[in-house]
C-alpha cells in the first residue's frame, strides 16, 4: 500500500465524498439494471417487471447447465492469457525503445504504430480473414491470438509513460557499465510496473470481450469464446433472451473485475517514492 502524497491536498477529503458518491452511484446503476434483469426470469427487458419479481436464479442455472459454457470460458481464458502475456512483453519492449528514442526515426515509428489504430476493423476484417485463411490458421487458437499479440495501444501507452520516467537511473547504470539488456530488464521493467499493470488490464478487457474477430475467424463450437457463445445462446431471430444474456454478461464481468483488482494495486505501488537518490 503506498503512502502517496497526493497531487491534491488531503484537506479536501470531505468535498471529495460529496461529488464522488453521486458519480459512483451513476456509474453503478446500469450494472444494477443488468443484475436485476438477470435475476428476474419473467421480466424480459422490463426493469419495472424485474423489480416486481418473482426473483430466481433460473437464468444462472440455465447458464451453467448449458453444455458449452465451460468450453467457452476455457477458450476465452486461454486466449486472454496468451494475448495479455504477449501484449505486456511486446508493449514493454517496443514502448521502451520508442520512448527512449533508441532508434532513428522513432517519431515516424510512433506515428506509424499509432496509425494502425486509425483504420476501423470493419474494413480490415475481410482482408485479415483472407490472410488467416491463406495461412491455414482458420479455426485455430493461433487465429485468435497471433494477430492480436502485439497491440499498438499498449505500445503507445508504455512509450508515453517512459517519456515521463526520469532517465537518471538508466544513465547511472550505464556509467556503471551495465549492458543495455541488463538495464532494460533490471531497472526499466520494474519501473514500468504501473503502466504494465494498466496494459495487462486493458489487454485482458479487450481480449475477453472481443466479439467480431472471434466470430469470423473461428467456426467450430469447441474453439468458441464466451461473447460469441453467449450471443449464440441468447439471440433468436427477432428477440433477445434478456435474462439469459444479462446473467451471462454478469458472469463474464467477474473475471475482468478480478483481473482489475489484482492488477490495480500495481498501478499505485509508489515505486518512485524515494527513487531519486
Amino acid at each position: 500500500m503506498s503512502d502517496s502524497a497526493p497531487a491534491v491536498a488531503r484537506g479536501t477529503a470531505p468535498y471529495r465524498a460529496l461529488w464522488l458518491a453521486p458519480v459512483l452511484v451513476a456509474m453503478l446503476l446500469p450494472s444494477v439494471w443488468m443484475v436485476a434483469i438477470s435475476i428476474a426470469p419473467e421480466a424480459g427487458n422490463s426493469f419495472a417487471r424485474a423489480l416486481r419479481g418473482p426473483f430466481g436464479l433460473d437464468q444462472y442455472r440455465a447458464l451453467f447447465s448449458s453444455a458449452h459454457l465451460g468450453r467457452y470460458l476455457l477458450n476465452s481464458a486461454v486466449v486472454a492469457l496468451a494475448v495479455v502475456s504477449l501484449n505486456v512483453v511486446t508493449a514493454a519492449m517496443v514502448g521502451y525503445t520508442l520512448g527512449r528514442r533508441r532508434v532513428p526515426g522513432d517519431r515516424f515509428w510512433t506515428v506509424g504504430i499509432v496509425a494502425t489504430l486509425m483504420l476501423p476493423k470493419q474494413v480490415l476484417m475481410i482482408p485479415l480473414y483472407l490472410v488467416i485463411a491463406r495461412l491455414h490458421l482458420l479455426d485455430t487458437y493461433a487465429a485468435l491470438i497471433l494477430p492480436f499479440a502485439v497491440d499498438a495501444f499498449g505500445i503507445f501507452l508504455v512509450r508515453q509513460y517512459v517519456e515521463q520516467l526520469p532517465i537518471e537511473l538508466e544513465e547511472a547504470a550505464r556509467v556503471d557499465g551495465a549492458s543495455d539488456w541488463n538495464i532494460f530488464l533490471t531497472i526499466v521493467v520494474p519501473l514500468m510496473r504501473p503502466v504494465l499493470a494498466v496494459v495487462a488490464i486493458q489487454s485482458f478487457l479487450a481480449s475477453w470481450n472481443s466479439f467480431l474477430y472471434p466470430l469470423i475467424l473461428v467456426d467450430s463450437d469447441r474453439l468458441r469464446t464466451l461473447p460469441v457463445g453467449l450471443a449464440l445462446l441468447s439471440q433468436t431471430e427477432h428477440s433477445v433472451d434478456w435474462g439469459f444474456l444479462m446473467a451471462g454478461s454478469t458472469l463474464a464481468s467477474i473475471p475482468v473485475l478480478a483481473v482489475f483488482m489484482a492488477f490495480q494495486r500495481q498501478i499505485l505501488s509508489g515505486l518512485l517514492a524515494g527513487s531519486e537518490k
Binding site: A7, A48, L98, R102, V123, V131, V198, Q202, L257, F260
Partner: protein, 290 residues
C-alpha cells in the same frame, strides 16, 4: 557500446515489425488498394480499377457528410468531458484513504461489460417509459423518447460513452500520476504552494505525455463509434446517429461495396491522422525532463 545498443534497440522493436508485417500490413494495403476499385466480397474476382471514383463519390454524397458531421459532433461532445472526468476521478482516488479501492473498482465497472451488452442495457434505460425517464419525470424534468427523438438520440449515446469511458481512462491517468516523483510535491509544499499550484505547475505539465495519450487514443476510438449505434438506433432517427463507421459498415456489409467502404475508411484515417497531429502540436512535448 553503440553497436550493442543498436542491436538491442532493433531487437526490442522487432516484435511489432514482425506482427505487423504478417497480420497488419496486408489488411492495410488491401483496403488501400480496394478503395480504388469497385471490389465486392461476393464478386471478388470481378473487381475493376475505378481510380478516385470512390473518394469523389464520398465527397459528393450527402450521407457521407451527414455521417461526418455526426461523428465530429460526437467527438467534440465527448472527448473534453471524458478527459476531464477521468483526470478528476484519478486525482480523487490516487491518495490513500479508506475505501479508495471500492471507488476505483466502482468507477471501472462501466468499462468491464462488453459494449454490445452495455448498449442493450442503455437501450432499456433510455426507453420512453424506462428508468431514466421515470427519474426525470419525478424531478419534473423533460423526459423525451431518447433514442427516437432526432435531437436527443446522439446526445444520449454521447452521454453513455462518457459514462463508460471515464473509468477506463481514469486508470491510465492513475498510472501517469504515479510516474511523477513525490519529491516535487514535497518540495513545492515546503515552499508554500497551494493545491492548485501543485496541480497546474507540477501535475499537468508532467502529465502531458499521458494526457496526449488519452486524447489521441480516445479521439481515434470515438471517431470509430459503431457498436452502440448498431445496437441502439441503427443510425436513426432520421440518420442523426449514423456515424462514419456505421455508414461504411452498411456500405460494406449490406451493399457489399467494400471498395467504397474502404475509401470512406481511408478518409476517416486521414481525419484521425490530422487530429492526432493537431493534438501532438498543442499538447505534446516531453514529460519529466527537469
Amino acid at each position: 557500446m553503440r553497436a550493442h545498443s543498436r542491436v538491442t534497440s532493433w531487437t526490442l522493436l522487432s516484435p511489432w515489425v514482425f506482427a505487423f508485417g504478417l497480420f497488419g500490413l496486408f489488411p492495410f494495403l488491401f483496403s488501400f488498394a480496394a478503395s480504388f476499385t469497385d471490389y465486392s466480397p461476393i464478386r471478388a474476382s470481378e473487381a475493376r480499377f475505378v481510380g478516385l471514383a470512390n473518394y469523389a463519390r464520398a465527397l459528393h454524397e450527402p450521407a457521407f457528410w451527414s455521417a461526418l458531421s455526426n461523428t465530429a459532433l460526437f467527438v467534440i461532445g465527448t472527448i473534453p468531458f471524458t478527459t476531464a472526468l477521468a483526470l478528476a476521478l484519478a486525482l480523487a482516488v490516487q491518495p490513500a484513504f479508506r475505501g479508495r479501492t471500492v471507488l476505483r473498482v466502482g468507477f471501472f465497472v462501466p468499462s468491464v461489460v462488453s459494449v454490445v451488452v452495455l448498449s442493450l442495457v442503455f437501450k432499456g434505460l433510455y426507453a420512453a417509459d424506462g428508468s431514466l425517464n421515470t427519474l426525470l419525470r419525478a424531478l419534473h424534468l423533460p423526459a423525451p423518447d431518447w433514442l427516437l427523438d432526432p435531437r436527443a438520440a446522439l446526445p444520449a449515446i454521447m452521454a453513455m460513452d462518457v459514462w463508460s469511458a471515464s473509468g477506463y481512462y481514469m486508470i491510465i491517468f492513475l498510472a501517469g500520476l504515479e510516474a511523477i516523483p513525490r519529491e516535487l510535491y514535497e518540495a513545492a509544499r515546503l515552499e508554500g504552494a497551494s493545491s492548485w499550484d501543485c496541480f497546474a505547475h507540477i501535475t499537468l505539465p508532467l502529465l502531458r505525455p499521458t494526457l496526449l495519450f488519452v486524447l489521441v487514443v480516445n479521439t481515434i476510438r470515438s471517431l470509430q463509434i459503431f457498436a452502440e449505434v448498431f445496437v441502439m438506433t441503427h443510425g436513426g432517427p432520421l440518420g442523426r446517429t449514423t456515424t462514419l463507421v456505421y455508414y461504411l459498415y452498411e456500405q460494406a456489409f449490406s451493399r457489399f461495396n467494400l471498395g467504397y467502404a474502404s475509401a470512406v475508411a481511408y478518409l476517416l484515417f486521414l481525419l484521425s491522422l490530422m487530429l492526432a497531429w493537431l493534438q501532438l502540436k498543442v499538447v505534446g512535448g516531453r514529460g519529466a525532463k527537469g
